[in-house]
């Protein structure tokens, strides 16, 4: 790895559709305005796009080669398109690689999902080992419940803290509604004991588009790291996210930062469940001075596949708007109990 040259590309344009509980539009119609907004934001046109990296999962969309549904609206006709079947933040990191490789100057990254199309938890069974796990009737939510249980066993007060976290995030995500309280969350039904409905970020439909560029003004995607942990939840420490620790270490290294550097003004984690925020803080060693999910994070609507890219978008928007905010940590996560982890470090532009 070339440590003398920090891994850096510019976040030039941002656009998103949703998140909304159920978007009645087709996938192409839902993605198009996000792409148009990102292009307008970067003051670029379709002809300026050198390459496209898309993120989608066929089974979630109920389509084979599901990026077919968006080829035209993302401007990929007669262009190099790479389709990542995974989290959109991983797609962004791949686009950064393409730019740093010198292959392309302007790369559009687009991620989408419409969980309103189907029973998402039921679909998630098809991501689990079909010999040892899927026949048990498991889903991703059950795996999250086991993780929460392992933490609560050692810390019986934990669910009350999670309820407070959930209420805080819900209120930050939507200040218009009647404020949620921890008591409301604790009154909501158990969905994967000890997790209650109010502790789960609501699934939502949406699309996120981000334009990355080799140069120019704007926040910098300065470091990146991925990690895939082992599959069976029983093989992992059920109460921790060691994969996130490894992904962060890689991101710091690629950014040319010290392994111990935690000078983050902002963190935008992909926490689908309130207990995951504690996993996130534990795995990253984040200090209390770092502000976490000021806009409510995924509690404003968690779009599978696009969640990590949406966090990047939120962080980049904040870095642009707030001169005091200089560096942000962004996380994406996929699979059962956070098996897959991806991290980006975003810096304010010079």
């Amino acid at each position: 790895m070339n440590q003398s040259s920090p891994f850096e590309v510019v976040v030039a344009g941002l656009g998103q559709t949703g998140p909304s509980p159920a978007d009645g539009r087709s996938i192409a119609e839902m993605v198009l305005p996000a792409v148009q907004a990102a292009l307008a934001d970067a003051d670029l046109g379709y002809d300026d796009i050198d390459a496209v990296v898309t993120a989608s999962v066929d089974l979630f969309d109920g389509l084979t080669a599901s990026n077919i549904a968006i080829t035209e609206v993302v401007g990929a006709v007669m262009k190099p398109e790479t389709r990542i079947a995974g989290d959109g933040l991983a797609a962004a990191l791949h686009a950064a690689c393409q730019i740093r490789a010198g292959a392309y100057e302007v790369v559009l990254v687009v991620a989408h999902a419409k969980p309103s199309m189907a029973d998402f938890q039921d679909l998630s069974q098809w991501a689990l080992d079909p010999i040892f796990l899927q026949p048990l009737g498991l889903d991703f939510l059950a795996c999250a419940g086991l993780q929460a249980s392992a933490r609560a066993a050692a810390d019986p007060e934990a669910p009350e803290r999670w309820a407070e976290t959930a209420a805080r995030r819900l209120n930050a995500a939507d200040g218009q509604k009647k404020p949620a309280t921890a008591a409301d969350v604790l009154d909501s039904p158990l969905v994967a004991a000890p997790l209650r409905a109010g502790m789960c970020a609501p699934l939502a439909d949406g699309a996120v588009a981000v334009l990355l560029r080799a140069g120019g003004p704007g926040p910098r995607l300065a470091g990146l790291g991925h990690d895939l942990d082992v599959h069976l939840p029983g093989d992992r420490d059920p109460a921790a996210w060691p994969g996130l620790t490894r992904a962060l270490a890689r991101a710091l290294k690629s950014a040319g930062l010290a392994a111990s550097d935690r000078a983050f003004d902002l963190a935008e984690p992909s926490c689908l469940y309130a207990h995951e925020e504690e996993l996130f803080i534990g795995a990253t060693g984040l200090e209390p001075k770092t502000e976490i999910s000021p806009g409510g994070g995924l509690f404003g609507g968690a779009v599978p596949v696009a969640a990590g890219l949406a966090r990047l978008l939120a962080a980049a928007q904040r870095l642009r708007a707030d001169p005091a905010c200089r560096r942000a940590l962004v996380q994406g996560s996929w699979g059962p109990a956070g098996q897959g982890q991806v991290v980006a470090i975003i810096k304010a532009g010079p």
Partner: protein, 135 residues
């Protein structure tokens, strides 16, 4: 306009070398096989072809359980109870169904496998884990 369409396709997944060994031992002997890694000594249940800790493909099969300690549990309404049980002799836990009430599911309590009487070479040849007798 929303139109509902189904996808109806049967899939048939090979259990492979390690998976077949595990499922045959369940079916024919009512034993739970784990993989002991000859490189790092970790014992992983159920057995698989490579060690989850170090990646080595050099493993030997050893029997674990059928009893162990409950590390975590959850209940999914409509789907049932699930638990992580660290079986005696294993370095890590297995994830399986729990056949008990939420009140009986206490982390740290001992559970044991309940085998089906009619077994077919399937992970549900263990119907689930129940609180150990005498607990």
């Amino acid at each position: 306009m929303i139109r509902h369409e189904s996808i109806n396709i049967p899939f048939n997944y090979a259990a492979g070398q390690a998976g077949s060994a595990v499922l045959l031992a369940l079916r024919d002997e009512g034993r739970i096989l784990a993989a002991r890694c000859t490189a790092c000594d970790r014992v992983s249940a159920p057995a698989r072809a490579f060690c989850p800790a170090c990646g080595s493909g050099h493993v030997e099969y050893v029997e674990v359980g059928p009893g162990g300690e409950l590390l975590a549990w959850t209940e999914r309404p409509g789907k049932g109870m699930f638990g992580l049980v660290k079986l005696d002799g294993a370095s890590s836990a297995v994830l399986h169904r729990l056949l008990c009430s939420p009140e009986e599911a206490v982390v740290g309590r001992r559970f044991e496998a309940r085998f089906a009487t009619e077994r077919r070479g399937h992970i549900l040849d263990i119907e689930g884990f129940i609180p150990e007798q005498g607990e």
